[in-house]
């Protein structure tokens, strides 16, 4: 069964100090720790792991299809 993350729990996985880097998109939580582009939990200057990036992705120069490369590790609990 998939783990459910609260926003506070998600924030813990910020990719810093050896922690995994998790991000949320459209209710799903992805593990991007293995991505070169998410080193230290930071992506393209302004995005940070441990956050829900659903709104940010709309302004990104790529679509959600790039997230398909990463494992889904849970679901994000709605507020």
């Amino acid at each position: 069964m998939m783990r459910t993350f609260t926003k506070k729990e998600l924030a813990h996985y910020n990719g810093k100090n050896g922690l995994p880097a998790y991000i949320a998109y459209n209710g799903e939580v992805y593990d991007v720790s293995e991505s070169f582009l998410w080193r230290e939990g930071k992506h393209q200057v302004i995005h940070h792991a441990g956050e829900d990036l659903t709104d940010s992705l709309d302004q990104a120069p790529h679509g959600a299809e790039l997230l398909e490369r990463f494992p889904v590790v849970g679901m994000l609990q709605e507020d």
């Binding site: 991505s35 070169f36 582009l37 393209q44 200057v45 120069p61």
Partner: protein
């Protein structure tokens, strides 16, 4: 640093520190891609590989040109390159275009090449979007580089069987769009 230049960009509403960080990351992507493409190019051999060697070589040289074109803008805006080249490599805006495990697999080589170009196309499109109508010089530079990255993508994409590129090979000189920044 070009003080008034930076001030003008700041006044237009651009976050200059973020922009500089993006430029440094893209400069790192260009220089590291130049390095990795050198290895790819040397391994593009045999009946299939030789056909791709020319465009890989052109893309390699043009990526180096992009690096040289971006760096002055970084310093104009008050930024700098990291002192440590290892650090520079690791902050690249694009993943390493590493030689595939089987370097005789030309389709795997093309996949590495086209992914690198697609990453660059995304990155410069974003910089153009951020600077359009605000930071005219960075926009002009990013747009010039974007023009060349789009052509690189289309060349490799064509070899992957995704359809005609609609582009011709370079006629002699490299960097038809970026060369004005190198003079």
């Amino acid at each position: 640093m070009a003080k008034v230049t930076r001030e003008m960009v700041e006044r237009s509403g651009v976050n200059v520190d973020e922009l500089v960080e993006r430029l440094v990351k893209n400069a790192a992507a260009e220089l590291t891609t130049y390095y990795y493409y050198t290895i790819l190019r040397f391994n593009l051999i045999g009946l299939e590989g030789e056909g791709i060697k020319e465009i890989a070589e052109t893309a390699r040289i043009e990526d180096r040109n992009h690096f040289e074109a971006i760096v002055p803008r970084i310093y104009e805006l008050g930024g700098k390159l990291p002192d440590d080249m290892k650090e520079f490599h690791d902050l690249s805006a694009c993943p390493p275009a590493s030689l595939p495990g089987d370097p005789t697999d030309v389709m795997a080589m093309l996949k590495v090449l086209v992914e690198a170009e697609r990453c660059a196309v995304r990155g410069y499109t974003h910089i153009c979007n951020l600077t359009a109508g605000k930071d005219h010089r960075t926009y002009d530079l990013a747009q010039a580089i974007l023009n060349e990255e789009i052509e690189h993508e289309s060349w490799f994409s064509e070899f992957m069987g995704e359809g005609p590129s609609g582009h011709f090979l370079r006629r002699g000189e490299t960097s038809p769009f970026v060369s004005k920044f190198l003079k």
